[in-house]
Amino acid sequence: MSRQPIFILRDPLKCSGCRLCEVACSLKHEGTVWPEASRIRVFEFFPGVDVPHLCTQCRDYPCVKACKYSALRVDDSTGAVLVDEEKCTGCGDCVRACPGKVMRLHPKTRKALVCDLCGGEPECVKACQEAGYGALRVVPYRSVSFKIYSTLPEAVAQRLYETMYGGEK
């Protein structure tokens, strides 16, 4: 089946902070509930201010460029960054290169850890949709500007806080 590159569109205003996405992700990739190993994370710096945070597949792929060991490559069909665990040395260059601080090292294996878009049918999106929140949804990649989304969670949280609570801390 041929696929077109996709993007997981996130709407923090609709995010309940329930983190079913995190559970779904770690169930799929780790076979258990493992918050720190989930590729998608929802940050909550202030109660109620929930920021879903995951890879935006920047079209200039700074993480892929930063890797000296060719351990990262781009999935032709989905646009996801894929990790070759054999080649990854856990040096952290990709972590430092990531503009949104999404890229991490796996808490146990210490290999690069990033969203692989589940091959085109992301589990996190399914969980969010089925629960009725629709804070995550799959859209064609060409319909978004990745630069808007490759942002630090704190920056998003600050804007969200102002929107929800009216600004004053």
Binding site: E30, T32, P107, M164
Partner: protein, 625 residues
């Protein structure tokens, strides 16, 4: 030890000596008491049982427990069980709060945390994986909830970021529980707080935390939940639970906020002006009116598809900036109609204030209502209170909440909780004021009355609950058919949320995670009876300041025998013959004698025969046999 679904280790921090160590959890104990509330009761019995009556809940010898269960993290929704010898009941209360601290503790490799002794200085406990530190909290002490949250959060989060950002990347934020000024001042109605609005209120463990000079407990873990016996089955069960819970949109849509109008109007069981009435027709308390203040309709904790929490914020006006949850029904009622406050703004403000002061909204709303009724009846004067305390006066009640949290003036007496305040004031006034105190065994009744018979509590529910007036652990009949104390014992011990406990899924989870064959039938006959009997024994041991006599205290508050004065169920009251009948049936089921003391053969059958020594102490004190 390797027990599926458990880490097999409990962290113990001794604040008196500044030392920590690991305690191994053996499989037999885990099987018998599961975790959370059940395990707490067992640990407390084992450590303090021999001198229970002498242990001051607010003294250094008490233990403060933060426990998880085998289902924590796996079962949708997250809960943490807080326990210890309760400064409200002098027994054991499993006080459960929504906090990701439970998951962080599990991810850090522990099944729970035991805090022993008391610190000389103000401290907080910091746990990061295997690293355990007792840190100074001088800069946090005295701060209110919101300030504490923000300051502590930026401190520990900043530290984690600094350490990890350049190498392993951005980790998730740590989680913590904390106390506000009320806990610091050892107010018996103080709660252990999480995320501004969540509280472990019943039991008064905020005061225990304050007595240990412990401002907060922070944890960050990096591992998975402890491996389950049948991981594939657990995955399927999580999906199944989501499917079922997603179909129930009631919590999602309304949370418990529809109760503010409906519990009063439809079932006549909401506390109004210190339970003088239980029915109202104030449409101002309708959920639509609250929705106008909601800035967030759906708010959930880790892994919860039900998201029953709403967040309200007041913008503009004199209460500008107040943030709280919905409020949920309990605080809607207790900091609303119970104080004669029938408008959402005042209610949201008082709820936000209680959260910020670290007060349990239920217990504090209860004792505040008690004080206001004494004022109404002319028993307490304006001079004694310091200001006019009139029903519906939001500002006056706000002043009272502050006075309680800081133990100022009359607040010092009220800070003892309604049972002790009533005793003290009765002595001062030379008259019996217990008829105005709506509590059982030191715990103010949850905001669900028993008089109309239309809500869930039955005639005997509060009278015999091992957690006093706690509405979340209500004895009900028939035991095996009803949601009640026995199912609550499961939820609080496996440590899951009762709103998410649907059908027999919790038992299936337990089997898939631990491999143990514990059906619901077995749970009722064996495990729940064991946990409830153990709690009952510790409750009846009581002391040192209050002791319970089953012949007197296995009863409803006097108010429940006054006929309802208004509403469609006007004239109804709790029926004493019904109460006695139900009590007997319940005691018989549990294998307790006519005083509700577990029989020796029951204790032996349940594998806790060593408690016979304690029941003898109870009989001696009560001069039975």
């Amino acid at each position: 030890m390797n027990i599926p679904g458990y880490n097999g280790k409990i962290l113990e921090v001794d604040l008196s000596r500044g030392k920590d160590r690991l305690i191994e959890l053996d499989e037999e104990t885990a099987y018998k008491f599961i975790g959370g509330r059940g395990l707490a009761a067992y640990i407390l019995w084992k450590e303090l049982g021999h001198k229970w009556e002498q242990v001051d809940p607010l003294g250094p010898e008490n233990l403060l427990l933060f426990l998880t269960g085998p289902l924590t993290g796996y079962y949708p929704g997250v809960k943490l069980a807080v326990s210890g010898k309760s400064p409200q009941t002098n027994g054991v209360v499993g006080s459960v709060v929504s906090s990701e601290l439970a998951i962080e503790l599990r991810a850090a490799g522990y099944d729970g945390l035991i805090v022993k002794g008391a610190s000389k200085d103000h401290v907080y406990i910091y746990i990061e994986g295997e690293k355990v530190e007792v840190r100074s909290a001088e800069h946090l002490w005295g701060l209110r909830g919101r300030e504490t949250f923000q300051k502590l959060f930026s401190e520990v989060w900043g530290e984690l970021k600094k350490k990890n950002l350049a190498h392993v990347g951005l980790t998730k934020e740590p989680s913590f529980v904390y106390i506000g000024p009320a806990g610091e001042n050892m107010v018996r109605t103080a709660a252990v707080m999480a995320k501004l609005t969540h509280a472990a209120g019943y039991g008064g463990y905020g005061a225990v935390m304050g007595s240990k000079k412990l401002k907060a407990v922070v944890a960050k873990g990096f591992g998975p939940m402890p491996p389950a016996k049948h991981p594939e089955w657990v995955k399927l069960l999580i999906r199944e639970a989501w499917n079922r819970l997603n179909q129930n949109i009631f919590w999602k849509q309304w949370g418990t906020s529809s109760g503010g109008y409906e519990v009063a109007n439809l079932t006549s069981s909401e506390p109004i002006r210190n339970w003088q009435e239980e029915w109202h027709d104030a449409r101002t308390m309708g959920v639509n009116n609250y929705e106008a203040h909601w800035v967030k309709r759906y708010w959930g904790d880790y892994g919860c598809p039900s998201t029953c929490m709403k967040i309200s914020r007041l913008i503009g006006g004199k209460y500008n900036g107040a943030v709280t949850d919905g409020p949920d029904y309990e605080l809607q009622a207790y900091l609303g109609p119970n104080l004669g406050v029938f408008e959402p703004r005042g209610n949201i403000y008082l709820s936000s204030l209680a959260d910020d002061l670290g007060l349990c909204g239920i217990q504090t709303g209860n004792v505040a209502g008690f004080a206001a009724e004494l004022c109404e009846k002319g028993i307490l004067t304006r001079e004694e209170v310091g200001f006019d305390l009139k029903w519906g006066d939001t500002e006056a009640f706000a002043r009272l909440l502050e006075a309680i949290a800081y133990r100022k003036g009359i607040g010092d007496i009220l800070a003892e909780g309604v049972a002790r305040a009533a005793d003290k004031l009765s002595k001062q006034k030379g008259q019996d004021l217990s008829r105005y105190a709506v509590h059982v065994k030191g715990i103010g009744i949850g905001a669900h009355g028993a008089r109309s018979g239309k809500d869930f509590p039955q005639a005997f529910t509060y009278a015999v609950g091992v957690q006093g007036g706690d509405h979340t652990s209500p004895p009900r009949l028939p035991v095996e058919k009803a949601w009640g104390e026995f199912t609550a014992a499961f939820e609080d011990s496996a440590v899951i949320c009762s709103f998410n406990a649907v059908d027999d899924l919790p038992y299936q989870f337990l089997k898939a995670i631990t491999g143990w064959e514990i059906s619901s039938a077995k749970w009722f006959r064996e495990h729940a009876r064991r946990i409830v009997s153990l709690q009952r024994v510790l409750l009846l041991l009581g002391g040192p300041d209050l002791y319970w006599n089953p012949r007197i205290h296995d009863d409803n508050p006097p108010r429940f025998y006054e006929p309802l004065p208004s509403g469609p169920f006007k004239g109804r009251a709790v029926d004493r013959t019904e109460l006695e009948k139900q009590k007997k049936e319940y005691f018989d089921y549990l294998g307790w004698d006519q005083y509700g003391i577990p029989r020796d053969e029951t204790l032996r059958e349940l594998g806790i025969g060593e408690l016979s020594e304690a029941t003898r102490r109870i009989r001696n004190r009560l001069k039975l046999e």
